[in-house]
């Protein structure tokens, strides 16, 4: 499909499918996990068909999330390394929050906030996986000593907390930065959006387009 001239492709269909699958899985995981975490959220266990089904499905969904997430994360690892202007951007986080975007340096495909989300999830999901396996009944918990299970349980809770907070921030950011949601639903952003939020990435894309048009 030929993209209109004023648009840039930001996320491929595969990326988008992956993202939204993950998003659903994550929500289910978070809701069911919260149900076991605090009695106030116990009613959320019904989102997975009741508490027993929640207990059964939660770890399997966790494995699905892990597979999807790391499949994606592996492909995006390079884009999430600390890049040019990122430090400067971080120094100006006040401008970011105050929507004084014009004062910010141009950055690559992902801004440091997005990179933080990325690395936060890379770490917390890894810890969730490890601790989750250790406390997974009836399959694996029996092979681990109870003190380790206790540690894993605490670690799982803390990691999940980190992941959930991260996702809350991530979701808010998407709502906050208009055009972002569309990039993940339809896959494209306007050239202006790209230049505005991810200047370096926009230029790179535009150069690539130019090279393509000059055989």
């Amino acid at each position: 499909m030929k993209m209109p001239r004023d648009r840039l492709i930001r996320y491929s269909p595969l990326d988008r499918a992956n993202h939204w699958t993950m998003a659903m899985v994550f929500v289910l995981l978070a809701l069911s996990g919260l149900a076991f975490f605090h009695p106030a959220f116990f009613f959320l266990s019904h989102t997975l068909g009741g508490p027993v089904w929640a207990r059964i499905l939660h770890p399997f969904l966790g494995v699905v999330l892990v597979l999807l997430f790391y499949a994606m994360a592996a492909r995006h690892v390079r884009r999430n390394l600390l890049g040019e202007n990122d430090v400067q951007w971080m120094r100006q986080i006040g401008d970011v929050l105050d929507n004084r975007d014009e004062k910010l340096p141009p950055i690559g495909k992902y801004n440091p906030g997005q990179k933080l989300v990325y690395w936060s999830l890379v770490v917390s999901i890894a810890l969730l996986l490890i601790s989750g396996v250790i406390m997974w009944r009836p399959w694996f918990a029996g092979y681990f000593p109870i003190p380790l299970i206790r540690f894993a349980s605490l670690l799982h809770a803390v990691s999940a907390f980190v992941a959930i907070v991260t996702i809350v921030v991530h979701v808010y950011a998407a709502i906050w930065v208009k055009g972002s949601v569309r990039s993940m639903t339809r896959g494209w952003v306007t050239r202006a959006w790209a230049r505005h939020h991810h200047g370096l990435w926009a230029r790179e894309q535009e150069e690539a387009q130019r090279r393509e048009q000059q055989p």
């Binding site: 975490f37 995006h76 505005h196």
Partner: protein, 328 residues
Amino acid sequence: MINSQNIIARSATTTEPPQVRSHVEEVAKLIDVSKCIGCKACQVACMEWNDLRDDVGECHGTYDNPTDLTAESWTVMRFSEHESADGNLEWLIRKDGCMHCAEPGCLKACPAPGAIVQYANGIVDFDSNHCIGCGYCITGCPFDIPRISPKDQKSYKCTLCSDRVNAGMEPACVKTCPTNCIEFGTKTDMLARAEKRVGDLKALGFRDAGIYDPAGVGGTHVMYVLHHADDPNRYSGLPKDPRISPLVGAWKGVTKPIMSAIIGITAFAGVIHYMTKGPKEEPEDSPEEEHRATRDGGVPPASLGYDATRRRPGAGRNADDRPQGEDR
């Protein structure tokens, strides 16, 4: 002695349970290890009364059978041959099972409302209809007591025969015990009885005799009289100073409200931010945009450009081959 088994604590419940019967006397089971002959009558009576039948297992070279607690063996005898430095051999036999802690780690850890309850008389009971099989009770228990059934994935343990106690009878193990090594009554009476037995044992030369009613879990409603209370570990690993692990405390204690609050606050902060600062609106597609970086940074566009070839040689070349906007 035993009133209606009103519930004073209930798993995964944040509101107060009914407390009007708080004058109900606490009950306790006292196991006088010095009188135990390890006959396993308690094991059999427990299975019989509770309609349980564990698997017919194998002999593993000891008298212990079944070798561990299971969802169908709520109590087992643990045999230990202890030889002291002077060659004195003792065959120490301990009935293992739920201790019915005053501060039950299982109840603290359980996420399913009402799957674990504590009655006013001190009995900690599992309600399998509410159990979700997560095993948190196992994680929470300082004595390694609850077991998940491989048949239904629900957790089980001794109920202190709450049904019998409610009907004014003693638990099945207590009633059957041939040597009266297991007794049952109010906790006050049982403590007095235990004191008496400790005195007897001291008179017989067991200087370290004592009562096992560990304070770390707020005391228990199953207590032991031990001839070697200084070293409970000698009785097949009875923990010396059991308490709910600080890890479990952290997991099911402070972290719960704090982390829940932070999640809520984070979301709420977003709302506030949106209300005060508003969104980053979608920029208009204007030619000036292309030069914003130059203006702001005062840096020549070329040097600000994302020049992958200069920084990462391999990546730049590949970028040329890429379809538009696609990352791999």
